[in-house]
Symmetry: C2
Subunit: 343 residues, 2 copies
DNA sequence: GAAGAAACTTACCGCGCGTCAAGAAAAATA
DNA sequence: TATTTTTCTTGACGCGCGGTAAGTTTCTTC
């Protein structure tokens, strides 16, 4: 590696005796130049430390090779995990991923999108906050930037949506629980941040109705993203007020479930499906930590890999199609029931 | 909000009857123009949807207002949390945070830094992978870009380091555990990814030596970032081989501890400090979920807020100082013992 | 070897903004 | 009002690259 400082493409081209336009062509598509010149450029790249100036490159492009990834709350391991998978797919496909979190705040979500728009990204993978999102701002953004929504759907917004089938989540867990013991009551947040929670409650009510069973929903107070704490506090109240109506609790999501397990432990309730257990607890999402809870959490798992794969594949399709689909696509993946020890 | 599309600063300036250089000055420092012109510009900004082109702006700057934040593994809630706090401080201070994860891979860490260098960031907050980092590449990066390391120190690299005092972590937990029961054995990974783990082991050995007690270290096999799984598997082996040498286990970090708790539960060992408990378990970090484990985990907590505050403050100092300190600064914050039910 | 195709070179403009110098206008001070 | 100071305008250049047109060289193909 030579120490010669190269200031721009002109200098780099001169150094290896090739014209700048040819070098420029190479950087946009290495296959677009003759093999021999490609070799010369690439050996030079090994010798000298030159890479095109990102800002200059992107200034003249209608679109950059940046792909935005926006999640509602990155400190939630579910989103961290899905973001991780999306990022790696972007990198492998030659895009530059730019990862953002709305930190649970609708105004920050808009700020993030505003900032992202300036980057002229080739496309954006967006998991919106949901219910509290500033709908119009997001809609406007999606009109201007090729966007695929994931995890949380918003009617008519974005060129496509990729997520998991909330009804299937609940139908599988309810089915399993009713087959193997008392029918479940449903444990959720009063004011859930995203629409999946509502769909899950509706699915629960529908399933119970279909089975001819009496539904019972516990909506515990609390807002924000501290789900475990909300679940824990809510469960403590319920337990202290006499407990749940059945010995089987189905949580809207794993993080609430983790809080519930914590409350049960604190109150000396034994959770599980074996002899001498007081409560069965099941949940949804397959949160990265749900297999390490005590007891390990029976849950229905997102197909993380498929969601990430398909979301990214849909985005590249969308980009190739010029940023527009004739029809909005919606893809739901079927979750998978994971039996562990809690139910 | 008018629908007139504004293509550049020239048009925007013309529209409000101000010269482009003046508008440019405004965007670099709103206070640098007369109040009356500032008002005219800002009312226009409310009416029309114009913002300077990021790429064009940054092309002519030696440094941008981008602050890079790099963590070794974003799906680890500890890093997600600290990254979240750093990001918000950047935003509040008017920087554009750019968040990256090395996904646990040293080569990706180098790629991330290479990509970051092209962005000409004002500064970078870097938590390196540690032991497996490509030291020379990181050193070179730090020479070129004002960088503050956090969480994981690397001798002589970066202008400053901000982290937690590993010795204090361990001295507090060991002290507490020995005062209140049997002295602890130490539970760790064989090949820890980052240097904090080694410091904690050394601190344990030192403390035990000072107290005149016999140390006992369990180094369980495993590499990578699936700490819970590694802790769980390792603990299962130990338990099945006859158990720990004392009834008190001190884990190198909370994620290993979570795995250990999971193993204990599975084998029917009751963890806690009360009557009828088989094992006391304590740990370090105050992982976001450690208060929801069963039982809740006694641990020593990072002072997240102080680390984030001071790391960011140090970076702004560094930037103001032109990217160089006379002397490398190291700041360690004292962790805080958090007593919960596991020990 | 000639003809045609492919790949290259040279020369130039444009992108949107930072920045500077000179001069004009406005505001503050005397 | 006259003078100084501050702020603004005009005009121009440069940043590093994308892109194009016309001409030249190199590689195919028969």
């Amino acid at each position: 590696m030579s120490d010669t400082k190269i200031r721009n493409m002109e200098e780099f081209a001169a150094l290896i005796g090739i014209s700048r336009p040819t070098v420029s062509k190479y950087f946009q598509d290495p296959d677009s130049v003759r093999q021999s010149t490609r070799d010369r450029i690439e050996t030079a790249l090994g010798q000298y430390d030159y890479r095109p100036n990102i800002f200059a490159v992107n200034q003249n492009r209608k679109l950059t090779n940046i792909v935005g990834i926006v999640v509602p709350y990155l400190a939630d391991p579910f989103f961290a995990e899905i973001a991780r998978q999306l990022e790696q797919r972007c990198i492998r496909a030659g895009f530059r991923p730019a990862l953002y979190s709305a930190h649970g705040q609708p105004d920050l979500e808009v700020d993030v999108l505003d900032g992202l728009r300036l980057l002229k990204p080739a496309g954006v993978l967006l998991a919106p906050l949901g219910r509290i999102s500033q709908r119009d701002a997001i809609k406007q953004f999606c009109r201007e930037v090729p966007t695929v929504l994931f995890d949380s759907n918003m009617d008519g917004i974005g060129a496509a949506f990729v997520g998991s089938d909330n009804f299937s989540f609940v139908s599988q867990t309810v089915d399993y629980l009713t087959r193997t013991g008392e029918p479940p009551c449903f444990f959720e947040m009063q004011t859930p941040a995203n629409p999946n929670a509502n769909k899950r409650r509706v699915a629960y009510l529908t399933m119970m109705d279909q089975l001819g069973l009496e539904p019972k929903v516990y909506s515990v107070p609390g807002a924000g993203w501290a789900f475990e704490e909300i679940g824990r506090e809510g469960a403590l109240s319920i337990i202290d007020a006499g407990g749940f109506s059945t010995n089987t609790v189905l949580c809207s999501n794993d993080r609430l479930g983790i809080g519930l397990l914590s409350a049960c432990y604190e109150r000396g309730l034994k959770v599980g499906r074996g002899e001498g257990c007081d409560l069965r607890v099941a949940s949804h999402d397959d949160h990265p930590f749900s297999r390490f809870t005590c007891p390990s959490l029976t849950t229905a798992a997102h197909d993380y890999a498929s969601v990430a794969n398909h979301a990214f594949a849909t985005l590249t399709e969308l980009i190739d199609a010029g940023g527009r689909f004739d029809e909005r696509q919606e893809t739901l993946f079927t979750p998978k029931l994971i039996l562990r020890s809690s139910a």
